[in-house]
Assembly symmetry: C2
């Protein structure tokens, strides 16, 4: 995220090339999204923080919605990068590392995450698509690790359901802090839930 | 939903008392929500279907948002009523009946349900509150049935997570119909997931 230039860059009203300016604006949006929900991400505040006019911001992002989309896309990419599996580890350790990174990411960026899951995923089809792609990417990571690129539907639903389970559990844990469940306990719970659910789904159904 | 009057009611331009008119408009909204998402629920179409002017509709619902809120509230109440447990049955049968009713409700009203879960739950705080209350009510039903009004956090998160799991699994199943998982298999999966997750969460954690 930091430029490789050795010269420190003056903070405001600097002439940036278009790509650098876009990146700067999205990063400011991401920063703000760590403390407030997406629908409170005002264009005016971003422009002020970047030291540019509202009009110039609209030059880079034709509408507030375009800007929000770019920020949500960056939030999703950030979360996926933070939770990327280390292929050098055994599956169960990859899973744990991924879950740890996920819990920490959501703990550090609750508003961004809740925006991604609930707010952003709302009525806007473009944001809904980012949300779906993110969830699908997480599922594919699990499928690859369990050696089932095209798993049976029971397993696919169990894994997709587990992602939703984890999102809900972490959001609930952050919203109502509990003295009887610390970070490690939460990670244990999410870990165990995946192993349990996949084992359950992979076993032949016992319909009765 | 059907009036107890034995006389058939003429379809349009009838003078209704305000409460009956409100109910009629919300029911028309619910009906339309069974085939299209909330953000495509146009006030004009509702007014036309009710045989009233757009202006009169706004007399009952000051804004499109107020109307959407009333419709989403009715959709949530409808879903909760459809899935209400029968206290005369043993827990495991109550669970199964509730899950069956839930799967059928979502299958019959996919757009309404997806609007409630994803669309509606989006950036609007009032709709988000309806969504949260609905999820909380389902969890309380489970807590009551397992005899734990104030469960430990592990169990609370497991049950809340299971509701999210079930929502995701049913939406995924509807969106990508599968030849290897029929309605009964899906109900089995959701049933088994709750039993498995609660058992896992209620057991002492085996943190490593």
């Amino acid at each position: 995220m930091v430029s490789a230039d050795s010269e420190p860059r003056p903070p405001a009203r600097t002439r940036l090339d278009p790509e650098a300016r876009r990146t700067q604006l999205v990063e400011l949006g991401l920063e703000m999204l760590s403390t407030r929900p997406l629908n409170q991400l005002a264009i005016e505040d971003i422009a002020a923080a970047a030291g540019i006019s509202r009009g110039l911001l609209f030059h880079y992002f034709p509408s507030k919605r375009d800007f929000h989309e770019a920020v949500v896309r960056a939030a999703a990419a950030d979360m996926l990068a933070r939770t990327a599996p280390d292929p050098g580890l055994p599956f169960i350790e990859q899973l744990r590392a991924g879950v740890e990174a996920f819990v920490d990411y959501v703990s550090e960026n609750p508003a961004a995450y809740v925006s991604l899951v609930r707010g952003a995923a709302g009525s806007d089809p473009a944001l809904q698509a980012i949300f779906d792609q993110t969830r699908t990417e997480i599922c594919h990571r699990v499928f690859e690790r369990i050696g089932a690129e095209k798993p049976p539907t029971r397993v696919r639903l169990a894994v997709r359901g587990w992602v939703a389970f984890s999102e809900e559990a972490v959001i609930d844990w952050i919203s109502e802090p509990a003295s009887d469940l610390d970070r490690t306990d939460l990670i244990d719970l999410l870990d165990a839930a995946l192993v349990t659910l996949v084992a359950m789904a992979a076993a032949p159904p016992t319909s009765g």
